[in-house]
Symmetry: C2
Subunit: 353 residues, 2 copies
DNA sequence: TTGTATGCGTTATCAT
DNA sequence: ATGATAACGCATACAA
């Protein structure tokens, strides 16, 4: 892989390197004919500007780093696709890293991306993220950065989040309207703002209906952890009449355990998930879940980041809150009113606000 | 973001830049005490070597580029996790790009990664990849590159693939043993070697049992395309007694259409998928599918690539073929022999070879 | 309009 | 054992 450089072009055309350089950076005076000649022969020689050298001198890369906590669920890949759409359009190249839910790896990824002089960062935190100061310093150091979904709990940074409070409220309300009076909440990691917001919504709905809420279990986001939490509730003789889970995998895990114990879903225990995943329409019974605009989250985060990069001077941090919907399916229909299933995916009705 | 450079350290310690540089690259003579002093103060000043400058002069980055065709299914994310494990361990940073099933984007990604001087490439092709010459030139130009899963159909490159022929054969045999005599094959993109190998296995099994095979539909890898293919078969009055699909999403799509037409699965039409996905145990009926060692595929590809990078001189290309298994579930049990479901995920039995 | 010279941060080849 | 200096490929202030 021998690189063709501007020197080679200069030699061939008997011009100086600066002239060549100018041809590729329109802003300087250069005779149109020579520029065209240069561009032409550059193409013939199969020249491609070396981005490494460019980065070094411009201290800027036209690269955007994306940092996500995991890849197992389809959520983050979808967000990335959305982000990539708008970034590509603006000429940015996207570098993706995933942290395997480890804050150490996450830090490594962020530093590596910084070292590679990315122009900006799109990050969603691992569930074990504790070192708030690190993210605070990072943001204050001037790197354009937008947190999305799993955001850091400080004020003056840009964020794109889902309206977790609102939809947690509506999902809980839905269960209460079904007549559930002892709803357990399988929360995610306690450290995440997202978890706290969902908990608030859960409690607010109970407050509105003046019903005391059931157990709160801080399990994680995996099917396995959902299973464990459900096992624990059953073992401790604390079987609720409904489960509201922090995401679909943990909901599915809980559902499995209930089935194994011969407990009927939704008749004995109703279940609602969160962050609708592809499995939701296909579980038995089909899983009611809060659907999030994943794709749109990526797009919004990318737009916000670009604005921040290209408007660095007078840019003020902002938080964009996205809306969602509740797809009601069999897993939460305690008293079946409408037994006609939607043909596509078993969705009985959709709640929008 | 002011970078601390070796110059700053040199100034502070009244040493020359070369001495500082030496401290970070053990191979040169340097007095242990000064080295320790330098390392110490470097840490205090929060110095981090600038990888961009390093790349420029060394023409090497310790970065590995990964190019995958899509992110929608959990397959590639899993492979990436596996690859990342071994690459991290060896000190490589991983840069991931996804091509959205577009060869143009894929090419863009590859060139961008090359421009960023990645030391090697791990690539799996988009389903519309046609420009074989491009990949041939790429490989011949000396870039260490390992293709995985969706590989290019040329010889002297390194590949890590799944034994598609073998497992397509066994999956088909399973259906034949169930008594199916008119099996339709929903193949993937015709251009992929993987598709051709699965087709060969499909045909070989039929040959062994001296049964003529049913329709072959080259649909793609999405649920939507699976639906379309199934619709077409039904409309054309070509309803088979079994569907063997190129992957799970297309199998699920076909299953949905069958249900919508009131056709019973597996009684009237049995279904088997491929590349087991998370939904397989949760569909109704649970989907029989060929499981692949995704994680291991990533690990093997990464190992092969590192070997190729670090042993560039006498390295010979090789193809690693990985084994899998068939998880038999309700969707293909035409004559129910064993009605006791495995508690975990509805898997009735596992076929290994 | 074009050429010369300098620097981005680092490594490497000379000297000393 | 350490220092001076020339690269790596490119961009730009300044000179011509």
């Amino acid at each position: 892989m021998k690189y063709v450089t501007i020197k080679d072009i200069a030699k061939k055309l008997n011009l100086s390197v600066s002239t060549i350089s100018r041809a590729f950076n329109d802003k300087y005076d250069i005779k149109p004919e020579t520029r065209d000649l240069i561009l032409q022969t550059a193409k013939e020689m199969n020249y491609r500007p070396n981005p490494i050298a460019r980065k070094l001198i411009r201290q800027r890369s036209y690269n955007i780093g994306i940092v996500v906590p995991e890849f197992e669920n389809s959520f983050f890949p979808k967000v990335i696709i959305g982000a990539q759409e708008v970034l590509f359009e603006k000429g940015y190249q996207v570098l993706i890293t995933q942290s395997n839910e480890s804050e150490a790896v996450q830090r490594h990824n962020i530093e590596s991306l910084m070292d590679n002089m990315v122009d900006g960062l799109l990050v969603s935190l691992t569930s074990d993220s504790k070192d708030i100061e690190f993210y605070e310093r990072l943001s204050e150091s001037g790197v354009p950065i937008v947190f999305f979904n799993r955001v850091v709990d400080i004020d003056n940074v840009s964020k794109v989040v889902f309206d977790d409070f609102k939809w947690s409220f509506f999902a809980t309300e839905h269960l209460l309207k079904q007549g559930c009076r002892n709803i357990s909440f399988l929360a995610g990691q306690q450290s995440l703002p997202l978890t706290r917001n969902r908990l608030k919504g859960f409690k607010a709905a109970h407050a509105k209906y003046q019903v005391p809420h059931g157990n709160i279990e801080y399990c994680g986001f995996t099917m396995e952890e959902g299973r464990k939490a459900m096992e624990k509730l059953i073992q401790n003789n604390q079987l609720p009449d409904a489960i509201f889970a922090a995401n679909d995998p943990s909901a599915v895990g809980a559902m499995q355990v209930l089935k194994e114990y011969g407990i009927k879903v939704p008749e004995e225990v109703a279940i609602v998930g969160f962050t609708e995943s592809r499995v939701a329409p296909h579980t038995v019974p089909a899983l009611t879940s809060v659907a999030q605009p994943t794709h749109e989250m990526g797009r919004q985060a990318a737009k916000l980041l670009i604005e921040q990069i290209e408007n660095k001077e007078h840019f003020t941090h902002q938080t964009i809150t996205l809306n969602g919907k509740l797809n009601v399916r069999a897993s939460s229909e305690k008293y079946v009113v409408n037994n006609v299933r939607n043909k596509i995916n078993g969705t009985k009705r959709v709640i929008l606000r």
